[in-house]
Assembly symmetry: C2
Homo-oligomer: 725 residues x 2
C-alpha cells in the first residue's frame, strides 16, 4: 500500500510538465553542453535526466532490498531461482522485455566440512556463525555453512604453517626464514589478494591444503566495533568465497570459452586448469586464533603479526590439522535475467549488469546493487510511460553464480560475443552497490571522465553538494590503505582528481572487457563493511549501518540512470581516447624501464614505444576534432558508423590468441593479475613476461601488443576522418 | 676462585710486552694518527689502548652483574646503600680514590596502591607481577610494588577516558572528537613521550588522575614472545617510573639549583613546580585490558588502536575507576659513589657516570652499565699497576636515585658546578649499558665523530668486524620505529653515517650538559627489551636474552675505555666544532622558516642567522687550523689553555638566566622537550616560543641565543689564535 502510493506520487511528478520545468531551471548546468551532445540536444537531455533523477525513491529501494534478502539465495539453489523469477517479473512490470537465460554449470555445495587440530591437543574447529538475537534472519537454517567454492573433496592431515596473506612476497620471506610448506597445510589470512591466488600459490609450493581465516586486524575489532555493535566482522563471522582460478579463466570450469549450454562440449573436471587440486577451507577469527596460538617455530616478521592477542609463529612443527571436505559436484542450472528496453534502434545496446546470487542473504553483496538496478529500471520505465523512447536499446542483466566465478555473465558473454561486439556501446557494472557513503569506481580510461561527469550532476544525500564533490573531498582525506571494502579503492591520483582504478577481477565486467572488448565501468558506494561474504551481510546490517535511510541506494540509481541516459542518447559517444592513450604510454614507459633493467635490447622495445606514440598522436587528433564539434553535425549514417567505431577501440586492443598461459584473456591492456589479486595488471603480456624474466615470451607479447596498438590507432584515424573535422 | 683466576690471566697478558707488540702490529691503524695526537704520540696511545682492550673479560662482568642484581636496590633503601658501599670497595680495590657522597632528598615509597573499577561492574585491579618458577629472583618479597615516583597520596573516583599515548597531538584529536578529560581519570598507554609529560598534560587538561598501562602492541606480544619465553613484557609486567616533571628541573624537588645537603635551603613540597598534584599509577597490560574493554563512547581513531583483542573506545561514560594511593614522603639519604684515578694533572677531569639504583633488580637498567663501568675501572687499574699514569684525572661516578629524577647526578653537579666547569673535559654516560647487540649513542655534535672513532677500534663480539661496522649495517636495515628500547634510537642519517641523536632527557648527562655546559655523550647496546622497569629486568633475563655470554658488556667496557684513554691522553682534545656549528645552522634555518610562517619580521631573525653564520666561519677556521696540526706542537701552557677553551664552548652556549619558564635549564642549544618526551628540543628557547606562538618570548629567547652564539664564536677564534696555525 505504502509502496504503491509512493510510486503513484513519482509518476505524477514526472508527468507534471510545469513542476518539471521549475526543477530543471533550478538545476540547469552552467558549464555548457554535455559531452557528446549538441547544445540543443543538451537541453533536451537535461530535461530527460532531471525527470529521471526525480524518480528514485529510498522507500522503494528499501522494500526491494527487504524482498531480495528475505531468504538465502546461493547460486544453484531454489532460492536463487526464485530471485531470478521475481526479478524477471519486476523488469516486465517496468515495461522491459525480460527473459531468463539458463546454463548448466559444474557446481557443488558442501555436504560436510570438518576441521580439527589433532596436535598439540585435539580440538574441533570449523565452528559456524552464531545467530544474533536482534537479527532474526541469522537463525535461518538454509544458510550455507562456511566453505570455499570449487574445492575438491579431500581428507588431509598435516602440520600447519602460517603464511601471512599467502602472496608471492610472503613465500619469498618464508623461504628466507628457511621454511617450506611442502606437505604442509598453510594457514593464510584473508586480504591483499584474491583467495584463489592464495590457493594457487599454496598448490605451486606443494602444500596439501589451505585454511584461510579472517584476522581481526584486517576487518574485525581492530578496524572497529564488531557486528551487531558495529559494522565489522564478529569473531564467528566467516568469509565464504570462490577459489576458482578465475585468473586463468572465469565461468563454468568445464566449458572454457564457450557457453555452458546443455549440449556444449565439456572437458572433464580433472582437465580443468582453473580448478585447484588441494582443499581450501575458510574459518572465522576465533578458529584462526585456536590454530595460530598453537604454532611454534620461528617468530614471524613484525608485519605478519595480526590482531590476535599473542605472538604469531610460523609453525610447521607441533601443531597438526586434519581437514575433511565432502562436496556434491553435479551439473546445476543457473538463471540469468536479461531485460531489454528496446530503443529506436535495436542495433546499439547500452548494457548494465549486476549479479543476483549471494553467499547467504547478500544485503550488500550483491542485493544493494540488485535493488538499485531495479530502481533504475523502474525510473526508466516511468520515463517510457510518460512518452519517452530510448534511442538505443538498454539491456539490464542480472547475473547468477557470480560468486562462484563470474559464471552467469561469462557464459552469456561467451554465447553472445558476436552480437555484443556488433552492438554494445558500453557495459556498466555494479555489485557492492552500497556498503557505505563513499563512491568507488573503476573504468577503462576512455570512460573515467564520463563517470566523473555523471557524479557531478547527482546530489550527495548527506552533504547537499554533488556526489562528485564529496567523493573528491573524501579521497583527499582517505588513508593509503582502506580496510574492509570488498574491492580495492582506487589508486590516489596526484592530480587531485578523484581516483578511478583500472578494472581488475572480482566482478562481472571481466568477460565484457577482457573477453569481448566492451568498454566497461563499475560503480558503487563503499564504507565500513566487515561482514563481506558472511551470514551477517543481511538486511539488519544494512538498515543499522550500511545505508539506514537508503539514500545512497537512491543516489546510486541516479548515477546509473544518468550514465545510461547519456550513453543512450548521445549524438557522439562520450569516449575519451586521449586519456586511454596517455595511460597506455605511461605503462609502456614502465615496461621499457623494466625491460632495460633486465638487459633486454632497446631495439626490441622500440616498435612498442613507437606504437604507443602513434596511438597518442591519433588520439590527440581525434580529441581535437571532437572538441571542435566533430561528428555532431554529420550525416546520420556516418554518425552511426563513427559511434560504432568509437565503441570498438577496446576490440581493436584484443589479441585473438589471448595471453600467455591463459588464452581466454584477450585484452592486451588489462587483465586480472595472475598473482596480484583483485587488482588489474596493465599491459599484462609483457609485464608478466618480465615478472617471469621470460625474454622469449616478452618478445612475443610485445609484438602482439604493438599490433593491437596499431589497430587501435588506425581505427582512431578513421573516426577522425568520419568526424568531418 | 674462578673469578680470581680469570683476573690473573688478564694481568699476565697485559704485562707481557712481547705478546702485546704482536697484537698491536696486527691491529695497527691504517688511517694515520688518532685525532688530537701527534703521530709519535699516536703510536704510544695505540699501545696503551691495545693493552686496555685486552683486559675486559665477560666472566668478570657476569660475576659483577650477578652481585649487583642479587637483591632489589631502590634508591632510599638499604639495598641501594649496600650497592654503593660495595661499589666504593670495588673502585678502591682497583686503585681509585673512591668516596661516598650523600644527599638528603624528599623521597617516598608507596605504602599502598589500590585500583578498582566501580562501574560498569566492580573489579579489583592493580594486580602485581607474577613470579616465574624458573626465575627464582622473581619471588623476592623486597621487590617494590608497581608505582610511579613523585605522585601525591590521593583517593579519586571518576569516569575513565582513553587518551592514547597522552601527547599534545592526542589531546588535539580528543578535542576534535568533542571529548574533555576535565574531572576524569585518563588512561594512557606507555610510549612516545616521557611519562611525566603524560601526567603534566593530563593535569593541564584538568584530569583528576592518570593510569598508565603497557600496551602489547608497544612492548608486549605484538613485538615478540613474552618473558620468560621471549624478551618482551608479559601480561602482568608493570613499567614503574618517575613522573617528576624533570622537564622543568630534575633532582630533589625541594632544592632546585642547589645541592640537597642537610643544611640546604628548601622549598616546601607544595611549592615545588616539578611535582604533579594529581595521582598517577602504572598498571600491567592485563589490567589495562580490564579497563579499556569496559570503555564506551566514540570509537578511537585507527592509530589509537593497540594490540588488545577488542575495539578501543574513548570512554568518559559508563566505566568509572577508583584510585587510592598512599605514599610515605620523608627526607631520605641517597649515596653517590665518586671514584677518582688521579692523573699527572688534577686540573683536568675526564668524567664517566652511570647510576646504580634500580626499580627492582635492574639487570639491564642500570646494572649492565654499572658492571661495565666496574670492568672499565678494573682495566684502568690494571694499566696503572703495569706502570701507566693517567695524564688527566679520571672521575668515575655511580649515581643514586637516577630513577626518581636524575637526583644523585643533579645534586652532585649543582654542588660541584664551579669545579666541573673549571676542570671537566667531557662527561661520558652509560645507563642501559647492554639490552642487546645494537649500539646506540647520543652526543653533542662536537663529540659525534669521536664516539664513532672509538667504535671503529673495538671488535664486534659476533661478527668479527668492528662495533662501528655492525652498527652501520644494522642502522641501514633498521625500521623507522624500533620498539621497546628504553630510549629513542637515533634519527636515521641521510648521509649513510651511523646516527647519533641529540641528548634529550632520561639519564644523568642532563645536569652535566644542560646545567653546567659539560660536553657529553651517552653510549650503550640496545635490543629486544620488553621488561624495562619491571620485576623481570633481572639476571635471568640478561642471561637468557640480553647478553647470554656477556660479550657485549665486555665490548662496551672497551668502547668506554677507548673513549676515556683518548680524552685522557690527547694532546689536543678531539672536539669537532665544525659539526656543531653545522647542526646549529640547520636548526637556525628551521627556526627562521617557522618564524616566517608565523609572520615574524625577517629583520628580527636576522641577527640570529648572522650569529650562526659567524659561528660556522669561526668553526671552519678552527677546523682548518687543527687539521693542519694546530695545537700539537705549541708550548705546554698554551696547549693547556687551548684545551680548556676547547672544553668550554658548551659553557659559552649557556644562558645564565636559563630558559623561559624553566630557568634551571641553561643550555641554549639543547634541552629536553617540554612536551616532546625523552627527545631533545634543539634551540629550545626560540623553538618552544614558536610552539606557544609567543612572539614576545621569541624575541627575548632569540636574543639570548644570538648572544650565546657570539660568545662561542669569540672563544673559537681565541683557540684558533692559540693553535699557532
Amino acid at each position: 500500500m505504502n509502496r504503491t502510493f509512493r510510486r503513484g506520487v513519482s509518476v505524477a511528478i514526472v508527468s507534471g510538465g510545469a513542476l518539471l520545468m521549475g526543477a530543471i531551471s533550478h538545476g540547469a548546468r552552467e558549464r555548457g553542453t554535455i559531452h557528446g551532445f549538441t547544445s540543443g540536444r543538451t537541453a533536451e537531455e537535461e530535461i530527460l535526466e532531471q525527470k529521471f533523477r526525480s524518480i528514485p525513491d529510498p522507500g522503494h529501494v528499501e522494500a526491494d532490498l527487504r524482498h531480495l534478502t528475505s531468504e538465502p539465495h546461493l547460486a544453484g539453489t531454489e532460492g536463487s531461482k526464485r530471485v531470478a523469477e521475481w526479478l524477471q517479473a519486476q523488469y516486465q512490470s517496468y515495461g522491459f522485455d525480460a527473459q531468463i537465460v539458463s546454463y548448466s554449470v559444474w557446481l557443488a555445495q558442501p555436504k560436510q566440512v570438518k576441521l580439527e587440530l589433532v596436535a598439540p591437543q585435539k580440538q574441533s574447529l570449523a565452528t559456524q556463525e552464531e545467530p544474533i538475537p536482534e537479527d532474526k534472519d541469522t537463525y535461518d537454517k538454509r544458510a550455507v555453512i562456511g566453505f570455499n567454492a570449487y574445492v575438491p573433496s579431500a581428507d588431509v592431515t598435516a602440520p600447519v604453517v602460517y603464511v601471512n596473506y599467502g602472496t608471492v612476497e610472503d613465500y619469498r620471506i618464508l623461504q628466507s626464514l628457511g621454511v617450506s610448506v611442502e606437505g604442509k597445510i598453510v594457514l593464510a589470512r584473508y586480504g591483499r589478494c584474491y583467495r584463489g591466488i592464495k590457493t594457487k600459490l599454496a598448490e605451486e609450493h606443494k602444500a596439501v591444503g589451505v585454511i584461510i581465516y579472517s584476522d581481526p586486524s584486517d576487518d574485525g575489532y581492530d578496524a572497529g566495533d564488531m557486528f551487531p555493535r558495529g559494522p565489522w566482522r564478529p569473531m564467528s563471522g566467516i568469509q565464504r568465497g570462490s577459489v576458482e582460478y578465475t585468473q586463468i579463466y572465469p565461468g563454468d570450469p568445464l566449458t572454457p570459452g564457450v557457453a555452458a549450454t546443455p549440449d556444449a562440449k565439456r572437458i572433464t573436471p580433472a582437465e580443468a586448469p582453473n580448478l585447484s587440486r588441494i582443499p581450501t577451507l575458510p574459518i572465522n577469527p576465533q578458529d584462526g586464533a585456536a590454530i595460530l596460538s598453537k604454532l611454534d617455530g620461528a617468530h614471524v616478521p613484525r608485519n605478519w603479526q595480526g590482531g590476535l592477542p599473542f605472538t604469531y609463529h610460523v609453525g610447521g612443527g607441533t601443531a597438526v590439522a586434519h581437514m575433511t571436505i565432502a562436496m556434491d559436484y553435479q551439473q546445476r542450472p543457473i538463471y540469468d535475467v536479461i531485460a531489454k528496453l528496446h530503443g529506436t534502434s535495436d542495433d546499439e545496446w547500452v548494457v548494465l549488469g549486476n549479479h543476483h546470487d549471494a553467499w547467504v542473504f547478500g544485503a550488500v553483496d550483491p542485493s544493494s546493487g540488485t535493488a538499485t538496478m531495479l530502481e533504475t529500471a523502474r525510473a526508466l520505465g516511468d520515463l517510457v510511460r510518460s512518452g519517452w523512447k530510448p534511442k538505443r536499446t538498454i539491456v539490464m542483466c542480472e547475473w547468477d553464480a557470480e560468486e562462484e566465478g563470474l559464471i552467469g555473465s561469462t557464459e552469456w558473454v561467451e554465447q553472445n560475443r558476436d552480437e555484443l561486439q556488433a552492438k554494445a556501446v558500453a557495459y556498466i557494472n555494479t555489485d557492492v552497490g552500497v556498503a557505505g557513503p563513499n563512491l568507488s569506481a573503476s573504468a577503462v580510461p576512455s570512460l573515467k571522465e564520463f563517470v566523473r561527469d555523471a557524479t557531478r550532476d547527482v546530489p550527495n544525500p548527506q552533504s547537499g553538494s554533488s556526489v562528485y564533490e564529496t567523493w573528491r573531498a573524501h579521497e583527499a582525506h582517505a588513508t593509503v590503505e582502506e580496510l574492509g571494502s570488498a574491492r580495492p579503492t582506487g589508486q590516489s591520483d596526484s592530480s587531485g582528481e578523484t581516483p578511478i582504478s583500472a578494472l581488475g577481477a572480482g566482478s562481472d565486467f571481466c568477460p565484457f572487457l577482457d573477453f569481448a572488448g566492451i568498454p566497461s565501468a563499475d560503480v558503487g558506494f563503499v564504507g565500513d563493511y566487515g561482514v563481506y561474504h558472511s551470514l551477517y551481510d543481511d538486511f539488519y546490517w544494512m538498515k543499522k549501518f550500511g545505508d539506514p535511510e537508503f539514500k545512497y541506494h537512491a543516489a546510486l540509481a541516479k548515477v546509473l540512470g544518468t550514465m545510461t541516459l547519456r550513453l543512450d542518447e548521445a549524438d557522439v559517444l562520450p569516449f575519451d581516447y586521449g586519456a586511454y592513450a596517455g595511460e597506455i604510454s605511461r605503462a609502456v614507459q614502465e615496461v621499457q624501464k623494466r625491460a632495460t633493467e633486465q638487459g633486454i635490447n632497446a631495439a626490441e622495445v622500440k616498435p612498442l614505444v613507437e606504437a604507443a606514440g602513434q596511438l597518442s598522436e591519433s588520439a590527440a587528433k581525434l580529441s581535437h576534432a571532437l572538441q571542435s564539434g566533430g561528428g555532431l553535425s554529420i550525416d546520420p549514417a556516418a554518425q552511426t558508423k563513427m559511434n560504432r567505431d568509437l565503441a570498438t577501440i577496446d576490440q581493436a586492443l584484443l589479441d585473438p590468441d589471448g595471453l600467455h598461459g591463459r588464452t581466454w584473456y584477450k585484452h592486451t591492456i588489462y587483465a586480472p593479475g595472475s598473482y596480484a589479486g583483485y587488482s588489474a595488471e596493465v599491459l599484462p603480456g609483457p609485464s608478466e613476461a618480465l615478472d617471469r624474466k621470460d625474454a622469449v615470451a616478452f618478445e612475443a607479447e610485445s609484438k602482439s601488443l604493438t599490433a593491437a596498438l596499431h589497430r587501435a590507432s588506425a581505427k582512431l584515424d578513421e573516426i577522425t576522418k568520419l568526424s568531418g573535422k
